[in-house]
């Protein structure tokens, strides 16, 4: 066995460039599998973190699609939801922990000579509880400030860093759409959503302030969405039913007619996100497997060339007393060595690539030991599978003809 190994190593080393090129297919394949699986695992870990950060008990109610002349517009295009709807939900629903009407718009925030464009959301103080925000500095706004339309704002971490740099934003005045607003709090950072949105790039102002002073919307009472939280994860479905029935009643929607609003379940959205990330990594994994397959074919190709080239050597070995199985083992060993060495290099390269992806793109990656074992096993399999035919061919050579081969 040791002799076979030594012979195989020697034969591979005598053709270094060819061996390296042959391995390249396996290296790329295994490296790609490792990296793709790592990115996929990182993404699902992100989603799991997001769920625990946001809570999967959130429902988002949006106005339904308006239809103009039979052409249906996108969801949220009508203004059927009102502040009164939010108040009603808060009053009547049992399964809700919090209800927050929201209006939002992109706006430019100016501080000194710096400016930053972001989404400004007007909502009630419930939003912080529902979205599980905490303040890093200062405070949230109060119900009273909402009612009076006080010109105060709570800003996200990204904004704080970009507008204020090292300064403490609390107590400073910024201008939002030219209205001076006092910063009263800075939110603790949350990071990105699994779909890559920066959650900290945001500004919250009291609902009335947004409605009356900043946005000056046409229909004073309409809201763009209502975010509600069920009391716990188990009651999300009950809460969804409750919200629907209350709103249908308020909007006087008869049986059999469609809702003029749309309720979205956070858990469902996350499921969808998770599903799509899984499909994505599956697809990438499939592509990577194809390159492993191509690598295997490369090994087979080179081994066939090698068998032809070394026909005379095979003849000599047979004449001297090598059984067919010895010849077979020898060539199989070479194929296996190529694929295993390629596999190991590929694994190292995949780990390196995963770190590079994390470093350069900021995507979370996680190299699982499972994927390493899988990739290694797969490359061994490729070596045996694609090495077998050439080895078998070599072992069946006729010694007399092999000896005569030039």
């Amino acid at each position: 066995m040791f002799e076979t190994l030594r012979t195989a190593v020697r034969s591979l080393l005598s053709n270094k460039i060819r061996s390296a090129l042959t391995m390249l297919g396996i290296i790329i394949g295994v490296g790609a599998v490792i990296t793709m699986v790592a990115i996929g695992a990182g993404a699902s870990k992100n989603i799991a973190q997001y769920i625990s950060g946001v809570g999967s008990n959130i429902l988002i109610v949006m106005p339904g699609a308006s239809s103009a002349g039979g052409v249906r517009q996108q969801i949220g295009s009508s203004s059927t939801l009102t502040v009164e709807d939010a108040d009603a939900l808060k009053r009547e629903a049992f399964d809700l922990r919090g209800v927050a009407p929201e209006v939002y718009s992109r706006a430019q925030i100016i501080y000194g000579n710096l400016n930053w464009s972001t989404t400004v959301t007007g909502s009630t103080s419930d939003i912080f509880d529902i979205r599980e925000w905490t303040v890093a500095a200062g405070r949230f706004f109060l119900d009273g400030e909402n009612k009076s339309g006080a010109k105060v704002a709570v800003i996200g971490d990204t904004l704080a860093r970009n507008l204020f740099g090292g300064e403490d934003p609390v107590g400073k005045t910024v201008r939002i759409r030219n209205v001076p607003v006092e910063v009263i709090g800075v939110l603790a950072p949350k990071g990105q959503t699994p779909w890559g949105q920066d959650q900290d790039d945001t500004v919250f102002v009291p609902f009335r302030t947004a409605q009356n002073r900043l946005f000056r919307r046409g229909i004073a009472n309409s809201v763009q969405r209502i975010t509600v939280a069920a009391v716990d994860n188990a009651s999300v479905e009950a809460a969804e039913r409750e919200v629907k029935s209350i709103l249908r009643q308020r909007h006087r929607i008869g049986d059999g007619r469609e809702d003029d609003f749309d309720v979205r379940n956070m858990a469902q959205m996350l499921d969808a996100a998770r599903q799509s990330s899984r499909v994505m990594s599956l697809l990438l994994g499939a592509v990577a497997s194809v390159s492993l397959l191509v690598g295997g074919i490369g090994i087979m190709n080179i081994m066939l060339v090698s068998v032809t080239e070394r026909t005379r050597e095979i003849g000599i070995r047979m004449a001297i007393g090598a059984r067919s199985s010895k010849i077979r083992t020898q060539f199989l060993m070479e194929a296996l060595l190529l694929s295993i060495a390629g596999g190991i290099i590929g694994i190292l390269l995949g780990i390196l690539a995963s770190h590079t992806v994390t470093g350069a793109l900021g995507w979370a990656t996680e190299v699982s030991s499972g994927s390493v074992v899988l990739a290694f096993g797969f490359s061994v399999f490729v070596g045996i599978f694609f090495g077998f035919y050439p080895a078998w061919k070599a072992s069946l050579l006729n010694p007399i003809e092999a000896l005569r081969y030039e």
Partner: protein, 233 residues
């Protein structure tokens, strides 16, 4: 004592409808310690005979008993084992592994005989020493002259301690002076008791042997014994 005997060997090659009887009822035997040369023109059947004697091929008819064992109808793997245990080959083209050193080339038959590495090394060194290449053990074939390469091949044929040495035109690729040296080595090995069967088409080479089988058209034309061996023809 009889080391090998063939009886009524027939070997037929078919190409399309044409049937060529390469060997057509050949019988002879070789005693232990004999030095036999097989001669004949190309197409006489001597190469086919050589392949059968070397257990590289099997006859279509007839029996071949080598060292007390009938080998005419063995399987591939059994033949491989017989070759390893009973026969040392010396070829016209040396047939050494180009990437291996002299020592590694000589070790090869012992690897397939599963001899442990320490003993393998010792016996291979002895064999190389015997053919006068003690100082060339780590050289590769392309660093050696033809005569030296053929000596390595002879050492490889010796190392297994096989009862029979089969040489196929061993001087075909060598100049006359080197040929004489190689033949002298064969004679010396024969003097030590080795049985040697040598295929050649050169009468000068055959003259070193004690007995010459002349082949023609797949049959033995003559079987001639020489009383005294010619050492310097």
């Amino acid at each position: 004592m009889n080391l090998l005997s063939v009886r009524d060997i027939v070997k037929i090659y078919r190409t399309g409808d044409v049937e060529l009887r390469a060997l057509d009822g050949v019988s002879f035997s070789v005693d232990q310690g004999e030095f036999v040369s097989i001669m004949g023109h190309s197409g006489s059947g001597k190469s086919t005979m050589m392949n059968i004697l070397g257990c590289l091929d099997t006859p279509d008819e007839g029996s071949y008993v080598l060292d007390g064992k009938e080998v005419a109808a063995l399987s591939r793997d059994e033949l491989a084992d017989i070759r390893n245990a009973k026969i040392g080959f010396v070829f016209q083209g040396f047939n050494l592994l180009p990437r291996a050193t002299a020592l590694e080339n000589v070790e090869l038959p012992l690897i397939y005989a599963n001899v442990p590495s320490r003993e393998r090394r010792r016996r291979s060194k002895e064999a190389l020493d015997r053919v006068g290449l003690a100082d060339r053990m780590e050289h590769r074939p392309n660093q050696m002259s033809g005569g030296q390469q053929q000596r390595v091949a002879i050492a490889r044929a010796l190392v297994g301690g096989t009862p029979l040495i089969l040489a196929d035109e061993p001087t075909g690729n060598l100049d006359s002076k080197t040929s004489e040296e190689i033949m002298a080595l064969f004679v010396a090995l024969n003097d030590e008791g080795k049985t040697i069967v040598l295929v050649t088409h050169e009468p000068d080479v055959a003259a070193y042997s004690g007995r010459t089988l002349m082949f023609r058209d797949g049959r033995i034309l003559s079987d001639e014994r020489r009383a005294g061996r010619v050492r310097n023809p």
